[in-house]
Assembly symmetry: C2
DNA sequence: CAGTGGTCTAGACCACACT
DNA sequence: GTGTGGTCTAGACCACTGC
């Protein structure tokens, strides 16, 4: 394929036999972007599970009838977005939360000295896990209808025995059928890893809105914190593939011995 | 150069005649990394000023005796780090804060609806601008010795007439000789742009530590906020090329009508 | 039109991991 | 050794900008 058609509005033929609904490709985009899109579809469709290797660059090049370099550029972007991890000599793997290397994928809280791992594993205390009808704000964040079933989990995270985070999670009832408090409590490793393994839901990005607030009496009690101590309110929406919101999380962080760290580039 | 020496520990000859102290290149790295390093040196040395175009990929390839593709990969990384901006058909330009496209380069505060620009230009009220001897904590953050001269600026930023941010800036006295309150007040556009234009200091990245705090009486007064309202404490260290810290900034943000927004990938 | 960055290819070789 | 990702090259053509 020596630079034949690609520049004008034609796109790669939808790979047949995959059962994908062949959604119409809107406009022109570079070949490697189209390849990226196709690989993305396979990731979403679960053709390769988190932690598994995807086909080699040569195989993909053959499948899509393009050169290896083009596939490479597509995978480069997927790797830059943390959807995929390259390992020299071994292959390219679907990213997963189930690896201790990336313990706290989205948690930006750090002890004032050292890092979270130096404080040992977090203790998770599940206070509640119930099925409720989504309030308006929760429904809006999760792109549901008000009143739809959602699971609500309330828990306290402690580091080194000190209660540090109080958070509520809301999850679409549809996707998280059967989630129980014991399941939340007993699973070893990141909560997002459990979502992958038990529910096939993989979070790929998140957005946080942060404020300073004064906790109410109940919140102070749960965090064993004196009344009036200001806390960090962190509202996070986490998304799966395709920008579908799959979790709303409202956390209160103690910031007297920890801080929220953000690196700006 | 058909793949001759590059893989073993040899590195590119230091480009002669540039006056650079030819600091010894430590170990092996891919060719494109070495090229990236050389371009970086030129950026640091000020061979091309912010906003200016750097030589074309072909020119750089000729200068460094490598292929255009190798230069391209080097520039790709520099662009990913926001040190350089590519513009198709025009060239590659040294990144600058002096463009309204990137108004608030490091400020993550957003109004609860809309964005900062929708609130019109921020009003800056300079309260103080004085030369002081660096306290221990400031000195540590700026990699100075305790007692070294630093400039301290205190100001209030208002959006739509509402005081929203109270912040103190500390700058190394050495690099910011002659900075005055009127200069801070009169300059149109981003403060970081003024640093570039007037002092030749370009900030390329920053790290922020965030906490919830209760302001003292003086702070409440300055922000015209009731006593006891919790505020976001944002401590930022901004770095120039080579990871040299050049600014410490301690800000207090109102988060009753705004929030700190962070996107996690 | 010429010059710039952007895309695509094809082939070579290197570094690494496994067997 | 074989297979994987990683680097490097050389050459072609496309898309955008400005003269």
């Amino acid at each position: 394929m020596s630079q034949t058609s690609p520049t004008t509005a034609e796109n790669i033929a939808d790979s047949p036999g995959l059962g994908a609904p062949a959604q119409p490709t809107p406009a022109f985009s570079p070949l490697y972007q189209q390849i990226k899109g196709l690989i993305l579809q396979s990731l979403q469709a679960g053709e390769w599970k988190p932690g598994e290797a995807i086909p080699s660059e040569m195989e993909l090049a053959a499948r899509f009838r393009v050169s290896q370099g083009t596939v490479r550029k597509a995978i480069d972007e997927l790797a830059a977005e943390n959807l995929v991890v390259r390992r020299q000599g071994k292959g390219t793997f679907v990213a997963t939360h189930s690896e201790q290397h990336v313990q706290y994928r989205f948690l930006r809280l750090m002890p004032d000295s050292g890092d979270l791992d130096s404080e040992g594993p977090a203790q998770r205390n599940i206070l509640e896990c119930k099925r409720v009808r989504a309030p308006a704000d929760v429904a809006r964040a999760l792109a549901l209808r008000s009143g739809d079933a959602v699971l609500q989990v309330r828990r306290v995270l402690s580091f080194g025995g000190v209660p540090t985070i109080l958070e509520d999670l809301w999850l679409p009832g549809q996707s998280f059928k059967g989630l129980t408090a014991t399941q939340m409590a007993q699973y070893q490793g990141p909560t997002y890893a459990m979502f992958e393994v038990d529910f096939g839901v993989r979070m790929v990005r998140a957005v946080e809105n942060i404020r300073a607030i004064t906790p109410d009496a109940a919140q102070c009690e749960l965090l064993q914190v004196p009344a009036g101590m200001p806390l960090l309110s962190v509202e996070r929406v986490a998304y799966t593939y395709n920008d579908i919101p799959m979790e709303l999380r409202r956390g209160l962080y103690r910031t007297d011995s920890h801080h929220y760290r953000n690196e700006l580039n």
